[in-house]
């Protein structure tokens, strides 16, 4: 096994995340697309750690996972507030910043 295969998998996951992010309007789907992109980046870190046999990539992955947990907590709290106010999950309805 060499460097290219895991990197291509990570690229595919990241691309699907970006594609889903532009295609979907459901706020949960957008959050999960962000999680998917973060995971693709983690796979790249682990792959290069394997390549250079250094644990710094693993450490970075753990920090990114903690960041993702913080992001998920705050984002889900915001989603709960938005859903109570607007009774919908459609991100096109959450446009009050534009007005």
């Amino acid at each position: 096994m060499a460097l290219h295969a895991p990197l291509l998998v990570a690229a595919a996951l990241f691309s699907i995340g970006v594609g889903g992010f532009v295609a979907r309007r459901n706020v949960f789907a957008l959050l999960m697309c962000i999680e998917l992109m973060l995971n693709a980046v983690n796979l790249v870190f682990v792959t290069f750690s394997r390549q250079w046999l250094s644990v710094e990539g693993h450490v970075t992955v753990l920090l990114v996972v903690a960041l993702a947990a913080a992001e998920a907590a705050v984002a889900l709290a915001i989603v709960i507030m938005l859903f109570r106010h607007r009774e919908t999950l459609d991100v096109d309805v959450f446009a009050s910043m534009k007005e």
Partner: protein, 167 residues
Amino acid sequence: MLDAILFAVLSAVAVAGALAMVSRRHPLGSALALIVVMIALAGLYALLAAPLVAILQILVYGGAILALIVFVIMLLNVREEDLAHEDGLRGRLGMGLTVAGLLFMGLAAGIHAIPADPFAPPPPGFGGIVAVGRGLFRDYAVPFEVVSLLLTVAVVSAVGMAKRRLD
């Protein structure tokens, strides 16, 4: 040889799960597909000599973050009429897939420009608790403390936000 087969299977599961995730209309289906992706990724980490990261991926991502997402979806009791108006979902997904394909081709071209040798065998204990813990708590102690502070602030603010009553 076994590694290559496992790698191909897990990669296929991860990519298929990701495609299922973006194409499910109801968020609960998306969340379940995302759990499949997380577990397949944990298998890939284990194949890439990162056992600790693989375990933490299942514990933290599959166990905590996805459980939180599923919990919030259930808590909000999402009904069919609350979902986003995604009438042209098929067409929009086609557009998203086009964007994804173009991005993937660009990334793949970049990846193929990287010279690749086969992986060297890892030293014993590589990616285990001792090696990663030494890196995390000695060389990266300050980022670790900063992240723990950030996580505390984020969770406290999330609780404060979600608890507030509507007036």
